[in-house]
């Protein structure tokens, strides 16, 4: 009886709304029993045509657009576009602005990891963790709000530096939040990272072939979770990452658990990086102003810049033809590779219940797949 049932192949539509992602994306699963035989991704629910829109916007008008490309972590997008324009123009960035940018990027990484911790545990059925981490993420978001005026989308990093200097006493408030989060990590460990249910669900699940990981274009925590030490911040240091004391974190195992541990340790490392930034931050101007934004022509040329986001290499290819508007802005999000071709491959042979779990561990983000 059970043999006959298992032979029969059924089609199962998972999503567009489901716990594995921030956004909408459908996965068509062919299953026998509860084992996945074939997975096909269907995206297109969040296509907003940003790349096309940017071709009809002034350079300055692109900044409110790019930060919306990835909803959970907008700052690497602003950083990339700003850095690409600076490269095309040859504009210098004041030293203090570089430190503030690193602080923003690391705080954004921590906020993303907190959201990810909630998603990862929520997709395993552990619902206390999301309540805690989303609540704690709000302390970081409050800092963003004070600094930039926006909670989620900041439009703070722009060509030539950052939009405004730190308010008075801001450094102390950042340190206070860092102290709180550091002490909270013990609770997270007890609730998630050392939780028997999580270990049982995560160890040995979602294995990524270590030898093939680089060929498949895997980046970020999934790559470092295979024990391969590559990080854009070290490979091609930008801003002031080469002046700070930190190491690339890796973890052997190639499964969901090792990816989780990479993120867990990077969270701790980000706290230390932000503290170093606050200690070393020089005084001085924070912006090197450019021309009037309405008459702002960026010299013709092209630039490829990349930033290490919380999910891996975020790349921007920007082409300018010397006019008021960009010729082409092409965005490479880490989820573009992780969430489509790699996911389809990794889901084969997995259990249906692990689908969201695996997607979360890869950091799938549909808004940046479609843009």
């Amino acid at each position: 009886m059970s043999a006959i049932l298992q032979e029969k192949e059924t089609t199962l539509y998972l999503g567009p709304q489901h716990p594995g992602i921030t956004g909408n994306m459908m996965i068509e699963l062919k299953v026998t029993g509860d084992t996945i035989r074939k997975a096909t991704t269907h995206v297109g629910y969040l296509h907003r045509g940003f790349e096309k829109l940017m071709e009809e916007r002034l350079w300055m008008q692109c900044f409110p657009i790019v930060c919306r490309i990835c909803v959970p972590e907008p700052d690497p997008n602003e950083e990339n576009l700003a850095r690409a324009i600076e490269e095309l123009e040859g504009r210098e960035v004041p030293e203090r602005a570089k430190y503030i940018r690193v602080m923003m990027l690391e705080l954004s990484r921590m906020a993303t990891y907190l959201l990810w911790m909630g998603g990862q545990s929520g997709s395993a059925g552990l619902y206390t963790m999301p309540q805690w981490t989303v609540g704690d993420r709000d302390y970081i978001i409050d800092l963003f709000e004070e600094l930039t005026g926006g909670r989620v989308y900041h439009m703070y990093i722009w060509p030539g530096g950052v939009r405004r200097d730190l308010p008075e006493g801001f450094e102390g408030r950042v340190r206070k939040v860092l102290d709180y989060l550091e002490q909270r990590l013990t609770d997270y460990d007890r609730l998630l990272f050392e939780n028997a249910i999580f270990l049982r669900r995560a160890q040995g699940v979602g294995i990524l072939d270590k030898d093939m990981a680089m060929e498949w274009g895997v980046v970020g925590p999934p790559l470092r979770g295979c024990g391969i030490a590559h990080d854009v911040r070290k490979d091609e240091p930008y801003e002031v990452y080469d002046q700070l004391d930190w190491e690339v974190i890796t973890h052997e195992g190639s499964d969901v658990y090792s990816r989780a541990m990479v993120r867990r340790k990077e969270f701790e490392q980000s706290i230390s990086i932000v503290r170093q930034v606050l200690d070393k931050m020089p005084s001085g101007p924070v912006h090197n102003p450019g021309p009037n934004p309405l008459k702002w022509r960026v010299p013709a040329g092209e630039a490829y810049v990349k930033t290490e986001s919380a999910r891996g290499e975020f790349g921007y290819y920007v082409v300018s033809d010397g006019s008021l508007k960009p010729r082409r802005v092409h965005v490479r999000g880490p989820a573009y590779v992780h969430g489509v071709s790699l996911l389809e491959r990794m889901l084969v042979g997995a259990n249906i219940a692990d689908t969201s779990f695996i997607m979360n561990s890869l950091g799938t983000c549909p808004p940046e797949i479609e843009r």
């Binding site: 297109g44 680089m214 060929e215 274009g217 490829y304 290819y317 490479r332």
Partner: protein, 190 residues
């Protein structure tokens, strides 16, 4: 300057020795641009991957140049060992844009090629799975072409919400629609 660009110069020399038709230029430290003509792109990509260690395909971009009547495909490759990024540029005729797929070398090239096929209308010979990616049932001009006019398309396909077409006050229209007085939305009147 010369010794800082040593690795780049070496790569430039080896590419020039192996492929005469490739035009190599060094953009800056860690960035090399290769302009490549002709249909032997897979062989060149395989040379870069196997012999020069450019193992990581970051992305494939498509840029439209209607003034030259050409599409430009840019293959972004990264070498982890040497920390160098190579942009391989291939120009295709806009009327009959066709090139060979790179899926045998990098499987994730499949997604990028599917998107470029959909957004620019470039054909990839030998692509295993050219189904719809983002746009379902699209039969208009591929939208990332420069001559696809977003504004005209929107005017044609969608209806403007009443009250928006001549910049008149939305509240007025809503009031007329419901046959009531103009509602007051000001916060201080609460």
């Amino acid at each position: 300057m010369s010794d800082t660009l040593q690795k780049e110069e070496q790569i430039k020399a080896s590419i020039n020795a192996a492929f005469r038709s490739a035009k190599v230029s060094i953009q800056r430290k860690g960035r090399i641009i290769v302009e490549f003509r002709g249909g032997i792109l897979p062989a060149f990509a395989s040379y870069l991957k196997e012999y020069l260690n450019f193992k990581h395909l970051s992305m494939i971009s498509g840029v439209d140049w209607p003034e030259d009547n050409q599409f430009e495909l840019v293959y972004h490759l990264w070498s982890y060992e040497q920390s160098i990024h190579v942009m391989v540029k291939v120009r295709l005729d806009r009327e009959a844009a066709k090139t060979k797929t790179l899926t045998p070398l990098w499987e994730h090239a499949e997604t990028y090629e599917r998107e470029i096929h959909e957004m620019l209308g470039v054909e990839f010979e030998g692509h295993p799975n050219m189904r719809d990616f983002i746009l379902e049932d699209w039969d208009d001009l591929p939208p990332m072409r420069r001559d696809f006019m977003t504004r005209e398309y929107v005017d044609e396909v969608y209806e403007w919400r009443k009250g928006r077409e001549d910049a008149q006050d939305v509240r007025q229209t809503i009031a007329e629609q419901y046959n009531t007085e103009v509602p007051n939305f000001n916060n201080e009147d609460k």
